[in-house]
Amino acid sequence: MSMGVEDADRFRSLATAELPRLYSVARRLVGAEAEDAVQDCLLKAFRAFPTLENPGAGPAWLLAVLVNCCRDRGRRNSRRMEDSTEDEDLDRFSLYRKIALEDPFPYSDSLHLDFLAQFSREDVRAVLLSLPLLHRAPLVLVHMEGFSTKEVATMLDAPLGTVLARLHRGRKLFERRLWEYAEEHGLLRRGAVG
């Protein structure tokens, strides 16, 4: 299908409106390669735009193209896309209990909220980027971008059960990495003083 002038204009208008969101999602999925991933997405989506039947689905469609571009980059770059090794302890890990047990801020009346308050936007992004892309993608798309698990399954071209399992593992990994990151980056000491 060829691209007419009107299609090209409609595509530019759609993509311009969605650029901030695309870049924001890409930063969480591929970190420093976000700009390249968005460029890949724009090129690929421009070519495929005439095949988009429902213009109302444009924003979600564009995001799906972006997610695919991010996955391609993840595959090329490293093993981050791969599942991490089996870890039976992870399933039963509870950040809530870890914080209560370790009690990092002894004078706090709201220990758990104070723990979360130590994390800047940059810290949260770094924690997310330390997770395998396989688990990070559903976590970002469901909990940060507000898509349903069914929509994410379509976007990732994966069965719903697979997405639910990856999301479950992603959330557990996220909880555990929050704690590890706080320890590694001195957030617990800083919170205890502040």
Partner: protein, 78 residues
């Protein structure tokens, strides 16, 4: 009656409303008497809010300019 660790394992799915009816009933039965797990549920809500609150990023103007320029350079139809 399920244990605390079984309740914790299903917590996020419970908050999503994605557990089967029988599992939901078992979790709620557990929550009715376990104060610690009620704390888990509250914290689960907080963690979800925490993720949502960290969703938006400011895009540097320079990056936006470059991406808009990519859009402008997409080949026009002939």
């Amino acid at each position: 009656m399920i244990s605390c660790s079984d309740a914790v394992r299903q917590l996020w799915e419970y908050l999503d409303g994605a557990v089967a009816e029988a599992d939901r009933a078992r979790i709620e039965e557990h929550l009715a008497f376990c104060r610690r797990c009620c704390g888990e549920v509250e914290f689960g809500h907080e963690l979800r809010r925490f993720l949502t609150d960290h969703a938006d990023d400011d895009v540097p103007d320079e990056v936006l300019r470059r991406l808009r320029s990519t859009l402008d350079q997409l080949e026009e139809p002939r």
